[in-house]
């Protein structure tokens, strides 16, 4: 039947690009922190530089992230209400504590790491891993509890966010390691050069494995959306064939998922440093687009 909307009120989207950037920054921070701790605890001496790079990157990114949140508030000077009037049911309340404890823990961890105090670095690193995962996982909960938005309210969301955080954090650490390699390769001995190169390539392989996990989760999500309620079908069509197709299918899945996966696993690009670096840049862009698609496409459908 022919149905036309004659008159209706629509508001602009409550959450925008700033929130997407916030999710991106916390994801990068959590990912690089977890990789830092794993490579520190892992014991092998060649992984130590990776540990230090992650330990520096993680707190810096996480000091920027809450700024985007405060700028996004309609009443930025009232941000202290978050600590005074607690609603323990709200995921944002978990966030206000995680976003303060996690960077402090990360800074102390980095301090011990650079001091060479392996024991305390290990202890704080082990405390930091759940903190980092929660700091990013809670952002998934923020979306999952957004009951009205069908793209958000899935139990997969926290897991999907944590896995994509690991992917983007790995890409960031690879890029940092590649920059370090480019600066140091001319001065260091050949054996060390070869070792650093091998390290970056093996990090690329790990990133490829994480990309597969990420694509698997996204695939599950889309398949369930396609067979669920009316709104779910509409939002799946919106991102697969509609306005968000270039962002979701083009940039997130093909350019940010499959292409870097092939780049790191195919023998002729996976063995070259440039292949792994290109894959990392693609992943960094792809994960940012993923945050954008989740936040903006999630609010694109009308609710009344």
């Amino acid at each position: 039947m022919d149905i036309r909307i004659f008159y209706n009120i629509h508001y602009e989207m409550p959450l925008g690009i700033l929130i997407a950037i916030y999710f991106y920054l916390t994801g990068l921070s959590a990912g690089s922190f977890v990789i830092s701790v794993i490579s520190t605890i892992g014991g092998k001496t060649e992984y130590k530089p990776i540990g230090r790079m992650g330990a520096v990157l993680a707190p810096i990114l996480l000091l920027l992230a809450p700024l985007t949140l405060i700028i996004d508030l309609e009443q930025p000077p009232r941000f202290w209400h978050l600590f005074l009037y607690l609603n323990l049911q709200s995921p944002i309340t978990y966030g206000s504590f995680l976003l303060t404890t996690y960077p402090i823990n990360g800074l102390i961890y980095a301090w011990f790491l650079f001091k060479g105090n392996a024991r305390w670095a290990k202890i704080l690193g082990l405390i930091g891993i759940p903190l980092a995962l929660c700091t990013h996982g809670y952002t998934g909960f923020i979306l999952a509890l957004g009951k009205g938005r069908i793209l958000w309210s899935t139990a997969l969301m926290p897991t999907l966010f944590i896995v994509s955080a690991m992917v983007s954090g790995m890409a960031l650490v690879i890029l940092a390691a590649a920059i370090r390699y480019a600066y140091r390769s001319s001065q260091s001995p050949l054996a060390e050069q070869e070792r650093d190169r091998g390290l970056i390539l093996s990090l690329g392989k790990t990133m490829g494995a994480l990309i597969i996990a990420d694509l698997f989760l996204v695939g599950n999500d889309i398949l369930v959306l396609l067979t669920s309620t009316q709104e779910a079908l509409h939002v799946a069509h919106l991102i697969l064939f509609g306005k968000f197709q270039p962002y979701f299918v083009g940039m997130e899945i093909l350019l940010g998922g499959f292409l870097p996966m092939f780049l790191v696993f195919l023998p002729w690009t996976g063995r070259s440093l440039w292949g792994v670096v290109a894959a990392s840049i693609l992943v960094m862009v792809g994960v940012m687009v993923m945050r954008y698609v989740v936040v903006v496409a999630g609010q694109y459908l009308p609710l009344h």
């Binding site: 149905i3 036309r4 909307i5 309609e74 609603n87 509890l145 459908l301 009344h304």
Partner: protein, 211 residues
């Protein structure tokens, strides 16, 4: 002593037995937007934002056509997700069931707006805080009906205490088939519609944003 205590408790329970709700009888609605105007005038909503409005759709092909109306406002849900998600307790449910927003506590994080399944919350562009329909709580506390109810010229809006069996709204709900918007979400809306059109209640019908 024990008996007295028990009876005292019972009295207390009876004292809070108020649950405000609204029935919108679409057999009587003529789509005149008086409720939207009265709401704006009463609550001084700035241009561009509405706490109550009337959605209108057109259906069919000539000569078999009709307009359908859906007056929309905050459902003041029994189990509101905005209340769960507000990080600073700026929104809460009063004992009589009205979900209110504290303008001095709201930080404008817009999470309630993003999670509301009915999209009835908006940012007041002048005050920079979230606002929504609160069943005109200042009028209800003074013993008069909300502005939209008083102004509705077809008497399509009926407001009252759902728990009082003598009230008009309770009798109407008991004897007339009614529906709520999105009942599957478990929010238990307290705004009920009589003869609401399925396509008017469906946000996806007639939507052309994906083309």
């Amino acid at each position: 002593m024990a008996k007295e205590k028990a009876s005292g408790k019972q009295e207390k329970k009876e004292a809070v037995k108020v649950r405000y709700g609204m029935v919108i009888d679409l057999r009587r609605c003529i789509g005149c937007h008086s409720c939207s105007v009265a709401c704006k005038a009463e609550l001084e909503s700035p241009p561009g934002v509405y706490r109550s409005w009337v959605k209108i759709i057109e259906k069919g092909t000539y000569p078999h056509v009709r307009k359908f109306f859906l007056p929309s406002l905050c459902n003041n849900c029994e189990n509101p997700i905005c209340l769960t998600n507000c990080p600073v307790k700026a929104t809460w449910k009063r004992e009589d069931g009205i979900v209110v927003v504290d303008p001095h506590r709201c930080i404008g994080c817009k999470y309630c707006m993003a999670s509301c399944p009915y999209d009835v919350r908006s940012i007041n562009p002048l005050k920079r805080i979230v606002q929504k329909c609160e069943f005109c709580r200042h009028r209800v506390d003074a013993g008069i009906e909300p502005a939209c109810v008083e102004t509705c010229l077809g008497r399509a809006r009926i407001f009252g205490n759902l728990l009082d069996p003598k009230s008009e709204i309770a009798q109407l709900l008991a004897t007339t088939p009614t529906q709520v918007i999105k009942p599957d979400l478990g929010t238990f809306p307290q705004v009920f519609y009589i003869e609401a059109d399925l396509d008017a209640m469906n946000p996806m019908k007639g939507w052309k944003g994906n083309e």
